[in-house]
Symmetry: C2
Subunit: 172 residues, 2 copies
């Protein structure tokens, strides 16, 4: 299973933290990398900094043309899932999603209406308004049936978690 | 099952959007309400506005003393789960969590160290750095085994989602 994220609609002046959360969630939950439409070095640097300390091979690449990226992905045999509250609710469609090679499109507030037609799947994590970050986390968890939560990133920094009291950090 | 959120460490100048996402995720995924430590009318108004249009009975209440809220909850027979990357990883502890009456504490970047000792459960959704919004979504989904995703909110606004093309909004 290969999953990449396409983040569209990022506004440099107001979406830095949310887009960073999208990228870090994608990484923590087993996606391979994130294409960020637009250019925002601070977001890229923040995510790359986490990768260098916490491990794994997650990448972030800025790009300019979402439609070209999406079409190229489909021409390479990949499927495109657009995460949107206007999509079919996840429990109703999970069994029919081909996640072998999947691009997950995560929009900021407004997305081009064309995207709904270009996507193979428009999927909502509920049809209620909430957060693309939570929706992405739950989607990735369902697609990988929880296996992603125990992935070993092999990083220099690791946490040994504790149920009672605070867990500790180890450094290699 | 009763679940409420205690949001601590909210900084009015920089956490408005993330705290709003926390609240909306809590609502969409079946929590009863959110206690927000501190005061931020714009966050409260944004969430209440969603409730008034999209339905349900989710509440948001500002409070001043996190420790008093937490202790009062425990005295009333509730359990406290602190969501933290320093906790035990969710898959390792899910079966032992008593979620009959549960307060989920969601911190911003720094939390008082005392919290780790006062919580019944310190739980991470992975031990990797990512997003409290994604972590909350996945936690609530695991606690309710996905049932929350099909909750009917009975709101004035509803979306009829579509897998191909854009779903529609209906108004009562």
């Amino acid at each position: 299973m290969r999953i990449i994220i396409l983040r569209i609609g990022h506004r440099v002046d107001r979406d830095k933290r949310i887009t960073t959360h999208v990228g870090l969630t994608a990484r923590a939950f087993g996606a391979e990398g994130m294409l960020l439409v637009g250019s925002d070095k601070s977001v890229v640097n923040n995510i790359q900094d986490v990768v260098s300390r916490w491990g794994g091979s997650f990448w972030v690449t800025c790009c300019t043309d979402w439609k070209q990226e999406l079409k190229g992905w489909k021409e390479g045999g990949g499927k495109v899932l657009h995460l949107t509250m206007y999509g079919k609710n996840l429990p109703d469609v999970i069994s029919g999603i081909d996640a072998n090679k999947l691009m997950v499109v995560v929009g900021a507030e407004k997305v081009p209406s064309e995207l709904y037609d270009l996507a193979d799947y428009n999927v909502g994590v509920t049809n209620q308004p909430h957060s693309e970050v939570a929706a992405l986390g739950v989607l990735l968890d369902w697609l990988q049936t929880g296996r992603e939560l125990t992935k070993d990133f092999g990083g220099k920094m690791r946490i040994v978690g504790k149920l009672t009291g605070k867990g500790g950090t180890t450094f290699e």
